[in-house]
Amino acid sequence: MIDLNLIIERFPAFLGGTDGAPIMSTSDGLQLTLELLGLSLAFGLLLAVPMALMLVSRNKWVARPVWLYTYVFRGTPLLVQLFIIYYGLSQFDWVRDSWAWEYLREAYVCAILAFTLNTAAYTTEILAGQIRNTHYGEIEAAKAMGMGKWLMMRRIVIPSALRRALPAYSNEVVMMMQSTSIAGLVTLADLTGVARRVFSDTYMPFEPFLTVAGIYLVMTFALVWLFKKAEQRWLAYLAPRKH
């Protein structure tokens, strides 16, 4: 039924060792998936914090553009966004003639761009929700201390919202990790890309996809564990009393 030898024999390919090369000799597989995930989450979070502040603004000229952005990027499939960026943009001569083309011609950059814009939209909404949820007591206390609007944002509202966003954000991170699997559709050899390559080399569907499913599961466990530790540390003050 399932050929264990094939799984063992091909396993190094998922860790960057294609065709008998030593593992980690290329960035194919696990390393590429982790790079795509790490970079897009980092850039996405950097974008999301200011955008969340804009989204909760009372000035509609500030809030509306961000609302539109999150609406568009949360309302369309990530795969479609990736195809628009990868295949769509390259159709325009002015894109190909611009300085940006040096980067956009790389599938790697296109994938990170699409993933970043997508996760930034979701993270913005998560953060904005938590900023709106800030307890009025914290705000009153800050005002009573004589803090101005920006100082209050920087010292009280944002740190508090980021902590409370942790549980929802951990879901977003796990979803994003699974979403990186579509990178293979624009020629990248991430974990799923490698699985497809093994599949079409050996004509065996079960073994490579089961292997890759196992690797994703282990990564999910690791991420969930990390976030649990983070919540224990930074959300301890919200945990139910133990005595």
Binding site: R105, E106, L185, T187, S200, D201, Y203, M204
Partner: protein, 254 residues
């Protein structure tokens, strides 16, 4: 009292007659013009489906053409999603381990498609990106030769995707069947400034003896019928008629 019963009997007879008209499902590559192409109405056209229809006409069967991405076509055949594959698939030793092949139905060289005037020699490949179809014989050949000369391979699921990236400048060349590169890219407005460059690649060790129709391993009865039908369409001129529709040269080879 008897009459309705009789009518019912005739109806059952008529029904069984329609059922017994056998349907053969042939898979083609979803997008590999001029060999196969999906029309706006969803119908497959091209050299491969036309040959399939001609074979079915000889075999007195109803043909159903199933489009399928090339990289999953052999597993899908073995999973009985269809009965045979006519997808410009080169007959190779490695594939023979997974499927049985008919006699060749054409044999054509592979070529590089690149910017007009590119001088292809061993030194040219250094640092170049070359688009190939995932799990194609071109990919295997390129991995063993071009990659060793310093080229980087980029794998695609469909030929048009590699042409699009060639036009956009993401790859420096695409390595495909000569006729595909010619008809589907070089001769189209998209392929302006590009040409088939370098030599014919037809090393039998990689490229085999031509393209064959694949059936599941051990499906001897169907294979024998397909081979018989192939001989007949070669002899009665219907092969030549289809060939003329798509190519200005003979692609059957020696």
């Amino acid at each position: 009292m008897k009459k309705p019963l009789l009518a019912l009997g005739t109806l059952a007879l008529a029904l069984s007659a329609t059922v017994s008209a056998e349907t053969l499902r042939f898979a083609t590559d979803a997008s590999y013009p001029p060999f196969s192409k999906q029309g706006a109405d969803g119908k497959m056209t091209g050299f491969d489906p036309d040959i399939a229809q001609a074979l079915c006409a000889v075999m007195k069967a109803k043909c159903e053409i199933v489009p399928q991405d090339f990289d999953g076509i052999i597993p899908a055949l073995n999973a009985k999603k269809f009965d045979a594959v006519i997808a410009s698939m080169n007959i190779t030793e490695e594939r023979k381990k997974a499927v049985d092949f008919s006699d060749k139905y054409y044999n054509m060289a592979s070529r590089l498609v690149a910017k007009q005037g590119a001088q292809i020699n061993a030194a040219w490949f250094k640092g170049k990106k070359i688009g190939v179809l995932r799990s194609s014989i071109q990919e295997k050949y390129a991995r063993d030769t071009f990659a060793k000369q310093g080229a980087q391979l980029v794998s695609y699921g469909k030929a048009p995707e590699s042409f699009m990236d060639l036009k956009a400048g993401r790859v420096d060349a695409a390595f495909v069947d000569a006729a595909v590169g010619d008809t589907d890219f070089v001769k189209t407005p998209n392929g302006k400034g590009f040409a088939l460059v370098g030599p014919d690649y037809n090393d039998p060790k990689y490229f085999g003896v031509g393209s064959g129709i694949a059936v599941r391993k051990g499906d001897k009865a169907l294979l024998a019928r397909i081979n018989g039908a192939l001989k007949q369409i070669r002899a009665d001129g219907s092969y030549d008629k289809i060939q003329k529709k798509y190519f200005s040269f003979d692609i059957y080879g020696k």
